[in-house]
């Protein structure tokens, strides 16, 4: 038996921008990312509407998909409910369905002892008359009313991205504060108390006189008299809405609602957190709103530890990274409001290393740091605007195998993405599937790595120029070559000489440079040497600057046209994703 309400499955049909959605969220914290207008907030709104603590909810034609109110909308949640919700005390019997991992189904008469999870199908329908109908679907498909009391018991705590929202800081029916404090007739006791206040005492002489004159006029006209001023309620305004939390600031009592957005939101959550945990569902739109990174991290840890089910949207890399350190599930909502799972085991490292991967409009996953530097340099000329303004982000995929898992997860979640990688000859079937899914936005060297594919185009006479770093110093790189050639001297002449007979000298030099630039350990005499040889790559291009330098070297050393031929279709594929026309050969040159 669960200790808190859990939405096991959500089905939304024709609500706002969502034509159809079928989603099985995680039991704990669900963090949703995805571009603007993708429907993340609509999903949150749908859940809040389903568990609305009041029937007085107004809906508009625009709440219907394509504004077609005649076809209605429906939001249905298959939920597991804890005992504390008190279904047993309701007049109406709600009969459970059993959860089969995908949906609530009719229990099997022959389940004999097997563990069954009882779930209930709750839904709200928008009718063609713009009315709302809250319903429970019974296992015989009979539909009975979903009482407002049950919705209040589930108690959705909702922090919207609306600045004015301070509902949970007031005694509004079903608000967090109401649920925490109200014990029976609190609101009528407050009304009673307020009505005892002698407001007439505030009247001044002239005002009292005016009231007295009115009194006698009314009396003469045979109307009610003996007048006094006092509290009168009006339609649509409850006493509860006027009563909220005050807190002391510099000895003045101020409404908590007048504090900053972050403080208001954190306070609301604290109030909700003080109510029975068993009856809580938390919804937070734009969790980062009003919070500094450290408070945001605190909040995410708190939600994770709270144990209840939460639905959170975010555009913040801090939030995505913080969620990666906990146990939250990350979801990607695409433009058609399809919600794709980003399985933790495939993305966890990326989530911590580069959380913006999941927030970019077009993440391009590159094999390693060199490739990231290389592509960033090229992107400076590949797009009209700065790539980071466009929403294109080159991310370090952390190596060939890791990147494959990540690409698959992102592809399955429905992200639009690019990939730039080597072919290391493993998992060829899976790579092929990625290549097919990404089309021209997928780039893979037919053979070898980036360094190899650039260096192979450098003319013999220019090979030694590769050793010069952007500052013109070449000592450190030449030393790696000398080590590999097993000579003490590390000047260019000695190295060239050590490369053997003149006719094969440059071929040998090229392969030694490639070996050093890629940290190849083949031929290292012992383990110690192996370790050192491996680190040679860092002296060459294995860094952000190194990747960038590779582009510049290719241009300076006249190898660029060949490389451009290789990668232009890829670049044009990325441009197409932003609706930009293809570049002709030569236009990419930095």
């Amino acid at each position: 038996m669960t200790s808190h309400p859990i939405i096991k499955r959500l089905d939304i049909t024709r609500f706002r921008g969502i034509e159809h959605l079928e989603w099985r969220p995680a039991n704990g914290v669900n963090v949703m990312v995805g571009g603007g207008d993708s429907g993340k907030s609509t999903v949150l709104h749908a859940i809040a509407l389903l568990f609305s603590p009041t029937n007085a909810v107004q809906i508009l034609e625009t709440d219907y998909f394509n504004r077609r109110s005649d076809e209605g909308f429906s939001i249905e949640a298959t939920v597991e409910l804890p005992d504390e919700i008190g279904l047993a005390n309701l007049q109406q019997t709600f009969w459970p369905w059993t959860w089969d991992g995908q949906a609530g189904v009719i229990p099997d008469a022959d389940a004999s002892g097997g563990q069954e999870t009882p779930v209930y199908r709750l839904r709200v329908r928008g009718t063609s008359e713009l009315d709302l109908a809250w319903e429970v679907v019974q296992p015989n498909d009979e539909v009975v009313a979903l009482p407002v009391s049950l919705r209040r018991r589930v108690g959705v705590v909702r922090l919207t991205n609306d600045d004015r929202n301070d509902r949970d800081l007031r005694l509004v029916a079903g608000s967090a504060l109401d649920r925490l404090l109200s014990n029976g007739n609190l609101k009528s006791r407050i009304s009673q108390k307020i009505s005892e206040v002698d407001i007439d005492a505030a009247l001044q002489e002239g005002e009292t006189e005016a009231l007295r004159e009115l009194d006698s006029k009314l009396q003469k006209a045979g109307l009610p008299h003996d007048l006094a001023l006092g509290l009168t309620s009006s339609q649509g305004l409850s006493i509860g809405a006027l009563i909220g939390l005050l807190a002391s600031r510099d000895d003045v009592m101020l409404p908590l609602a007048s504090w900053g957005a972050g403080t208001r939101r954190m306070s609301s959550l604290e109030i909700a957190g003080s109510t029975e945990a068993a009856t809580r569902l938390t919804i937070i739109d734009e969790i980062e709103r009003g919070l500094e990174p450290y408070r945001l991290r605190q909040l995410i840890v708190k939600l994770d530890e709270g144990g209840g089910q939460c639905f959170v949207t975010t555009h913040s890399p801090v939030a995505v990274a913080a969620a990666g350190r906990g146990v939250s599930a990350l979801w990607y909502v695409d433009i058609k409001a399809k919600i794709g799972s980003l399985p933790r085991e495939a993305i966890e490292n990326q989530q911590k290393r580069d959380p913006e991967t999941f927030l970019a409009k077009l993440p391009v996953i590159a094999e390693g740091i060199t490739e990231v530097g290389f592509l960033r340099r090229i992107f400076q000329t590949a797009f009209a605007a700065q790539p980071e303004f466009l929403g294109i982000r080159v991310c370090d995929g952390g190596g060939n195998d890791t990147m494959l898992g990540l690409l698959e997860a992102l592809r399955d979640a429905g992200l639009t993405l690019g990939a730039f990688c080597d072919d290391e000859g493993r998992f060829s079937g899976r790579w092929k599937a990625i290549s097919e899914a990404l089309g021209p936005r997928f780039f893979q060297w037919p053979k070898g790595c980036l360094e190899e594919n650039v260096i192979k185009h450098i003319a013999d006479k220019n090979l030694m120029a590769l050793a010069r770093d952007p500052d013109g110093a070449s000592g450190r790189r030449l030393r790696t070559l000398a080590v590999r050639l097993d000579i003490a001297e590390k000047d260019e002449t000695s190295i060239l000489k050590a490369c053997g007979a003149p006719e094969m000298r440059f071929a040998r030099l090229r392969s030694v440079i490639i070996a050093a630039a890629t940290g190849d350990t083949e031929g290292a005499p012992n383990d110690e040497a192996k370790k050192e040889w491996k680190s040679h790559s860092r002296e060459w291009f294995k860094s952000l600057q190194g990747g960038s330098e590779l582009v510049d070297k290719a241009v300076q050393l006249k190898a660029w046209p060949k490389i451009e031929t290789d990668i232009l279709p890829f670049i044009n594929g990325l441009r197409a994703a932003f609706g930009q026309p293809a570049l002709a050969l030569g236009a990419l040159r930095p």
């Binding site: 019997t93 009969w95 459970p96 099997d108 389940a111 069954e116 009882p118 296992p139």
Partner: protein
């Protein structure tokens, strides 16, 4: 979870105890609702009258199981409207069996019910079928506390010895499983005839233990024994007595303004009806066997006038006297067959009108018109109908009511529903089978005829006898045969 078993002889305050227990438990209990399960609507209303708490649900076990079956009809392979199906086809046993299997198989639903009803009080549990019993035990296993009231000596709905023995064993097993107690104060007789109450309780022990009740010594105040014999030429077909034997019975029927005359079995009640010259109505209880058969016939006939007329005639034969195939039925059928084409005279004119109704509307509406006509003819003592007696008036009245509905099944359901909620009571002086008197109490009862034909020496008949003698609060009279003596009575 606790299981409490209370053996409750008739008239010992079982309902009172159950209602007090329910009210107190419900008041203490913050969660869910206590559930009282009865076997009849009559018992349900008695509990409802005594238990005003909002957190108590009182249901007949049939309706409780039907509700479960309705929610999960697809899993139980039953039609959508299980209640209607069960009512119309008499499928309550089937519903109980499937529910039992379902609750034993899916502990989830049993748990949910145990959560909703943390306490279950079972009334008259000796009448629970094996499936009903096991369905409740499945909810008990899932966490509901169960308090069972029952009396194995009032087990008169299980008829075969084997069935009774099995149910007795079930009762003993329950005793072994839970806490057991017995009510022993005969409250029913306390204000008027405490001696009679003690005697009934003793008689119960003797009947239970297979002994013989001694009627030779001093009888308790409130009990009278009269000797009489059935002098009818064929005792199985009717009842008559010599004036001498009849005198004390006549004295009783003249003296007591309220009197319940009890007999074992429908046939004996019919014979007594003739014996008393139809001076007392027959108490028809809360079920309508003949009407149920009639509606089943209407459904299967689907407009076939031959089938309809056969069903109607069987119904009339069973609910009236002196209306038989030879006296009326065959002539009515002949009229239908020749399409009322021949000119008729006398009583045949009336039969022709009836036949016309059936030909025009060969369904429940035609039937209702025929029965209405018949009632009018009998009341007006019209030619050919002056002798006819309407015995089971409720059956006939309800058949006429169903004629007002467009659909026979809907009409039957609605009429049955109204009967469940209006709780008809027997007239102050009436004639009833022991079975239909179960659950009732009265001031004066007369049980006749106590002969071997009615009461052989079986577990079943001993129980019927016990239920019969435990109805009267003030005075009980037994009319006993010497020639064909009841084996368990000694004179």
């Amino acid at each position: 979870m606790p299981l409490v078993l209370i053996e409750a002889p008739a008239g010992c305050g079982k309902t009172h105890q159950g209602a007090i227990f329910a009210a107190e438990t419900a008041a203490r209990n913050k969660r869910g609702r206590l559930l009282i399960l009865t076997h009849t609507h009559a018992a349900r209303s008695v509990f409802a009258g005594r238990t005003k708490s909002g957190s108590v649900s009182i249901r007949t076990i049939d309706s409780f199981l039907t509700e479960i079956a309705t929610a999960y009809h697809a899993a139980l392979d039953l039609p959508l409207d299980v209640g209607r199906w069960a009512r119309e086809s008499g499928g309550y046993d089937d519903v109980a069996r499937r529910c039992r299997q379902f609750l034993e198989g899916s502990s989830m639903v049993a748990s949910m019910l145990a959560d909703r009803h943390p306490w279950i009080v079972c009334d008259e549990h000796q009448d629970a079928s094996e499936d009903q019993h096991r369905a409740i035990m499945a909810i008990h296993s899932a966490g509901a506390r169960v308090r069972v009231f029952g009396d194995p000596m009032q087990m008169i709905f299980a008829k075969t010895e084997k069935e009774i023995q099995r149910n007795l064993k079930r009762w003993e097993d329950l005793k072994a499983r839970g806490v057991w107690g017995e009510l022993e104060h005969p409250h029913r007789w306390h204000p008027h005839s405490p001696e009679l109450g003690e005697w009934v309780l003793q008689a119960r022990h003797i009947l239970r233990d297979g002994g013989s009740i001694d009627l030779t010594g001093r009888l308790p105040r409130g009990l009278a024994v009269h000797i009489a014999e059935n002098s009818a030429p064929i005792p199985r077909n009717s009842m008559s007595m010599t004036a001498e034997h009849r005198a004390p019975i006549n004295a009783l029927t003249r003296r007591d303004r309220s009197l319940l005359v009890l007999a074992s079995g429908n046939e004996r009640v019919e014979h007594l009806n003739g014996f008393f010259g139809r001076s007392m109505p027959i108490w028809e209880g809360h079920t309508r066997d003949h009407l149920t058969a009639l509606i089943t016939c209407v459904r299967s006939a689907s407009g076939d006038v031959g089938t309809i007329s056969d069903g109607l005639l069987d119904f009339v034969y069973a609910t009236t006297a002196r209306f038989s195939a030879s006296s009326h039925g065959n002539r009515l059928k002949a009229q239908i067959e020749n399409g009322c084409s021949k000119r008729a005279r006398g009583a045949t004119v009336h039969l022709q009108v009836m036949a016309r109704h059936l030909i025009d509307e060969p369904d429940h509406r035609g039937i209702a018109k025929v029965l209405l006509k018949l009632t009018e003819l009998v009341r007006a003592k019209e030619e050919g109908f002056a002798e006819v007696a309407l015995d089971l008036k409720s059956e006939i009245r309800e058949a006429i009511q169903i004629g007002r509905f467009l659909n026979a099944d809907e009409g039957f359901a609605e009429v049955s529903r109204r009967r469940s909620f209006t709780h008809p009571k027997p007239a102050p002086r009436s004639l009833s089978t022991v079975h239909k008197s179960k659950g009732l109490e009265c001031d004066h009862a007369l049980m006749m005829l106590c002969d071997k034909q009615s009461f052989s020496n079986s577990l079943y008949k001993r129980r019927v006898f016990y239920v019969g003698i435990s109805r009267a609060k003030k005075a009980l009279a037994l009319v006993i045969s010497r020639n064909d003596p009841v084996p368990f009575l000694s004179m």
